[in-house]
Each structure stands twice: as structure tokens, then as C-alpha cells.
Amino acid sequence: MALNLDTYLGVHADALKLQSKRMDVLADNLANVDTPNYKARDLDFRTALAAAGSPDAAVPLKTTDSRHIALDPTTDASAALKYRVPLAPALDGNTVDAQQEQAAFADSTVRYQATLTFLTSRIKDLMTAITGS
């Protein structure tokens, strides 16, 4: 029986990658908390995970010129990157709400750790199967 590690780890490998990307985006927001005209963004996790899980669903773009940038369907989750609807935008055009970003970052952290726990248990199961003890 051939074991495909990707199928064995399931959705968790993709989820881990996407949570870390979400944390990148949230860190962007927190770093730019006082930048004029900066618009806060967040990753729509459900859309991103769906895009990561089904690469065939994305319509490929044809490149007819060497200068065209090919769209890689497997990594195109940029559609999931959305601007936050501001509750109270600042006068300088900045829409970052530090408290909201902190809460989102904490949420992302916990989810990342949960995914890590899932992955660890899957690997432990595999080790049990290999060593037979």
C-alpha cells in the first residue's frame, strides 16, 4: 500500500501555510498602524483554503507574450485577500484598528497551534504504525 503523505496530512498542511500567511497580513496591518492612507487587509481563510485545496477550479490565464506574468493557479489565493470594512477610519485615511488586529492575530495564533496539534497527532499515528509499538 502506497502512502501519499499529502493525502495523509489532509487539509492541515494547507491550513498551516495559510494561517502563517494570514499572520503576515495582520503583521502588515500592525506595522502600518500609523501610516497615512494605509488600508487594513485580512485573509478570507475559507476562500483561501478552498483555492489551495482545488487548484483546478481556478481558470488559467493564457500568456501570449514573453512579458506576460503567468498566473500560477496553485498559489493564487490573492482573491481571498480583502480590505477590511473600517469601523472608524482615521482622518489621515488609515483604516487599521489596532485592537481588532490584535484580536485577529490572537485568533490566528490559536488556530495555527490547533493545526500544529492536529499535524503532530497525525505524525505520531504514523510513527506508531511504523514502529509497531
Binding site: 498551516l16 502563517s20 500567511k21 499572520m23 503576515d24 497580513v25 495582520l26 503583521a27 502588515d28 500592525l30 506595522a31 502600518n32 498602524v33 500609523d34 501610516t35 497615512p36 494605509y38 487587509r41 485573509l43 483561501a48 506574468i69 498566473l71 500560477d72 496553485t74 498559489t75 493564487d76 489565493a77 490573492s78 481571498a80 485577500l81 489596532a98 488586529e101 490584535q102 492575530f105 495564533t109 495555527y112 497551534q113 500544529l116 499535524l119 503532530t120 505524525i123 505520531k124 510513527m127
Partner: protein, 142 residues
């Protein structure tokens, strides 16, 4: 987990520390009077700008779209007029007995300092959390 988050957080930390530096400079010079309104110290404030990170072609669309670090694009001097004060006993006073105090608003500077310090703490917290998660990821499966 990518190491990009450290670049982002690092840029935030350095931008906020530049802001703290200007606050310190403004507060330290709040009473540096001069006899000439043109040479008196002017309050300084940094201007922040979001920088989209340059990515190579192999980076995914999401990688290219995210990853905006922050940089200080410049330091501007306040154009508010300096405060004129009649103080003929001051050796720096002009012929009318006036000295000019910097246009530093101490209350504004203090609130700016609190805001900068909070933003700095936020960034430190993000860095600590990311570091912990990265170390946990390294120990995956053990």
C-alpha cells in the same frame, strides 16, 4: 512559516523608534529659545509610508499581494509659528526684548509618545508570538 513576518515587524519597530526619537528630540528642545524666529527649533514629525515588498516571479500571488513593510519616508518640520515671549533679561533676546520659543506642543508630544510606545509593544508582541510558533513548528512530530 515564512521569515517575512520578521521583516514586517522589524520595519514597524524601527519606524516607531524613529517616531520616539523625534518625540524625545522635540521634548528635549521644548524650551530651547532663540532670538531669531527663523533659527528657533521646529517640532519634527516622521512621515510613514507603506512599502510593497519586491518579490520575484516565482512568488505566489498571495505572497506578492501581502508583505507591506513600513518605512519612514521623511521627517517634516512643523510650520506652526514659534511662540513669541517678552523676556528682556534673556541674553538671547532681540532688540525688542523678545525671545522665540519652539512650536513644540508638549501635550501633543506626550500623546504621540504613548501612541508610538503602544504600537511598538504591539509589534514586539507579534514578533514574540511568531517566534514561539516558528519554534513549535520546528518541533513538529517530536
Amino acid at each position: 512559516m515564512s521569515f517575512k513576518i520578521f521583516d514586517i515587524v522589524g520595519s514597524g519597530l524601527s519606524a516607531q523608534s524613529v517616531r520616539l526619537n523625534t518625540v524625545a528630540s522635540n521634548l528635549a528642545n521644548a524650551d530651547s529659545v532663540s532670538g531669531d524666529p527663523n533659527t528657533v527649533y521646529k517640532a519634527r514629525h516622521p512621515v510613514f509610508q507603506a512599502v510593497q515588498a519586491a518579490m520575484n516571479q516565482s512568488a505566489g500571488a498571495l505572497d506578492r499581494a501581502s508583505g507591506a513593510t513600513v518605512r519612514v519616508s521623511g521627517i517634516v518640520q512643523s510650520t506652526a509659528p514659534p511662540t513669541e515671549r517678552y523676556d528682556p533679561g534673556n541674553p538671547l533676546a532681540d532688540e525688542h526684548g523678545n525671545v522665540y520659543a519652539p512650536n513644540v506642543n508638549v501635550i501633543e508630544e506626550m500623546t504621540d509618545m504613548i501612541s508610538a510606545s503602544r504600537a511598538y509593544q504591539d509589534n514586539v508582541e507579534v514578533m514574540n508570538t511568531s517566534k514561539d510558533l516558528m519554534l513549535a513548528t520546528l518541533k513538529l512530530g517530536q
